[in-house]
Amino acid sequence: MAYVLIAVISVLLVALVAWPLLTRQQDPLPAYQEDDRRAVEEELQRSLDAIREIDMDHRAGNLSDEDFEALDRDERARAVELMRRRDTLAGSEEP
């Protein structure tokens, strides 16, 4: 009884694992571009969050005017750079 059970389980598992190989199932998505775009998107989101946070800190009095100017300028430059990269990636996808 136990042996039959083990055999059935084994066969089912082999079928489960081998299925993609038999059907030559492909990943639905292209690997690289999608991840690159997501990475840039996430980094851009973080950069935008940072801009917002810097602004809040300035308003709250945590940052002096000149510190704010410097930080804000650099962070915005980074965001612009990230947006450019995002657009390049989006462009490269189209044939």
Binding site: I9, P20, E43, M56, V80
Partner: protein, 664 residues
Amino acid sequence: MTLVGRAALLLAFAAAIYAVVAALWSRRTGRREFLASAERGVWAVFITTTTSVFIMWGLLLGNRFDVADVAGYSNLTLGWRYKITALWGSQAGSLLLWMWLLSIAAVLVVVTNRRRNRDLMPVVVAVLMGVAAFFTSVLSFITSPFATVSPVPADGRGLNPLLQNAYMESHPPMLYIGYVGLSVPFAFAIAALVTRRLDSTWITSVRRWTILSWIFLTIGIVLGSRWAYEELGWGGYWAWDPVENAALMPWLVATAFLHSVMVQERRGMLRIWNMVLVILTFTLALFGTFLTRSGILSSVHAFGESTLGPYFLGLIIVILVGSFALLFTRLPALRSQNSLESYISREAIFLYNNLLLVGLAFAVFWGTMFPVLSEAVQGEKITVGQGFFNQVTAPIGLALLFFTGVGPLISWRKASARELRRRFAAPLVVAVIAIIPAVYLAQDGAHWWAAAAIVLGAFTVTCIVGEYWRGMKVRHQLGGVSWPGAFGQLFVRNRRRFGGYVVHLGVVSIIVAIACQGAFSSQGDLALRTGQTGEVAGYQFTNDGGTRSKDDHKMSVGVKLGVSEGGNRFATLEPGVDVFLAQQQRSSEVAVDSSPFRDVYVVLVGLTPDGLARISVFVNPMMMWIWIGGVIMVVGSLIAVWPSRRPRGAAAPSVVGADDRVPE
């Protein structure tokens, strides 16, 4: 069924090996159907491991005493809840739990990365399944949970009474979830190194898994201390036992990582350091499992000497050498463009905090391993007393407390002196005021570090409250929201930051409570006949009479104690002792009267037939704030990780125009 259980574990082993091979093959050849097959292999490992776990539970619930672990850790009279718990009472069972959790984590990784990180996944699957192959091979060939005994005993030996309580039901699984969860960040880090995709792709997955594991580790550690406090009956909660240290070390390094990863996100720095931290965290998690299981160190709850030590040590060495060799070859790609501009900046504070946390983890490691090292070097086993740990932890903990307050108030890159003065004015005033009671409590400097903890705690709390206050003020003025609304908005708009501050408040609570308990607790023993009254630390205890009872499992004695202070009776405590008949094991039932400022903790040592009760009394100041602090930390970290509902792209600040700054 034991045969099916063994077979399921063997199949899990085979599936794990197959998944490693197929995943690596798919990476080598680029044939994606092999990756799909490898991911199904992960499912196969999950299904087979789950099968064997449920078979084990079936055997425990069915009182199948022909199985060694059932006979050794359960018996006929054990309640069904503890029969479930008995799974992780035995060595093989606890490794089976580890493996099961790992298979669950691996399946979660496969499911959540169906459409992302596709080029990392082959390596991620290979690493996770490599670890799974190790555990399934140990479970199949070295210590099987399905080992049988003959002749079959009529009844089992039962579960250790010390383990029969709600803390022990939940504490080991919590720690194990934490340990196992840390394998996922490790797998992603290795995948990023192997594929050279070292941009921020892997960071998001890694951070989320680390913080979730961190939460479970925190819960596990706090529950473990609480168990020690309520069940072991020595008035304390932490003894720097190797097994406690084993959980603390990965927790400390994971905490360091969660801070330094922010520097990487914001400034692109510390990328090598973060890799090192991820690798160390997982290694320490494995090391924790190893310490508990190997028996190389005598511990309050080591599981006896076993044959597992060399295998675990081998795995740890392979992982450490392999990861660091890989990291070394990728160093050029990890160099950062930015460098530290000022020693008084947010990133610098994070760096200090990291050095302190990792330094503390190292000191704990050193103290824990000292007996082993000294035996290897000098041939004499020399242990390190608790004094060492306390002495090292006190200054480092205080410095961490200081940076917890200072860090959030210092801006990125550099802070100007004028701003610093302005921002730290209020916290400094509060700290100076706090010096007065602290000096009074310090008693000629004998308890200087408790006094310092109080002063720094007040300072840090003021810093954090100031942050909330300034944030709320801006929201209130900007949006015209009510004050409570502004408070709520802080958490909605910036969960990570303000949730993180909640965690910090919990940390302050815990550190101050630990310092006060350590410095100002008092202890006394009393021997009281019925009707007699004795005094410890200003509290009077009256023996109101003893009780005795006996049932099938245990013999219990107890005593009624009236507790009063200055003639005002405020509590009746009933400490007792159970003697479990099956194991001839004593178990103290301590009685505690908790209040925000102190715990009165009473242990019944013995009750003679003529009514003389011997009791030990501990008065622990501020104890409650350790548990409250733990709850605050968990709540805060849940706030911080809760997925934000921000609609994509909405309310993004305009990047180019400088005139319309964040009208939210």
